[in-house]
Subunit: 125 residues, 2 copies
Amino acid sequence: MNSDFTLAIHSLTLLALQPDRMSTSEYIAESAGVHPVRIRKVLSLLKKHGFIKSKEGTGGGFIFALELSEVNLWDIYKITSEGALQPKCPESNEQCIVGANMQSVLFTIFLGAEDHLGEYLKNCT
Amino acid sequence: MNSDFTLAIHSLTLLALQPDRMSTSEYIAESAGVHPVRIRKVLSLLKKHGFIKSKEGTGGGFIFALELSEVNLWDIYKITSEGALQPKCPESNEQCIVGANMQSVLFTIFLGAEDHLGEYLKNCT
DNA sequence: CCAATCTGTATCGTTTATCATTACAGTATA
DNA sequence: TATACTGTAATGATAAACGATACAGATTGG
């Protein structure tokens, strides 16, 4: 998994702590220790899905758009990293019926696991 | 996550279907669609932890060492891919108390999620 | 209207992770 | 002693992740 998921949560947490004013990508990037452009890319996704709003121009930035209770980890995971857990099954011979089954079963498990516990963190830190 | 976890399960599944004879790394590799050396590396880990036995020389190979019911996904994950889910928290300023917390909390969640559902697959495919 | 400040994206180059491949030593078998 | 394996190290190719730069579009304030 790449760090988009982590960055998204870091950013949302930060935004949740600043409900009144807009936060710039530079501010968030500094806190997360990454490049502002990366933050903008990730937050662009979150915006597209309605988690945050953004405003361009002077005094612009990003701001939370929902109630904290409406956010759960699984949603964010889906947006930022869907498929990252999915292993590969390179084509093989007879026996890769095993492989194909395994892939879907494992995927289901990881899905189920996250879905099950995703809500546990919906009231972040 | 890299594919060691997947390969380990694929291999174990295969070995479980061949409880009588030894399987060579080449046989397993062909089924999994990867290079035999990769299989040996992964199975070397599994052997080190007692899941399988191996024998060198002619007629050698790998064979299951436990009951299927003694194997659970989480154990295998720990062996092959521990830390792969762990995101990074590049050092940052004041606010990375957030980051540090997040890291451990997320880690706990993924751990808990897998642990919780790991047993579901202990009777593989 | 113009300068300053942000977002939104695309692009390029570097680093890092993953994997295949080769090579070779050690071990068992026949 | 030749053959068929495991065990492991080393090298190189490929791909993914990321930083950095550049620039267009939007908004604000003077």
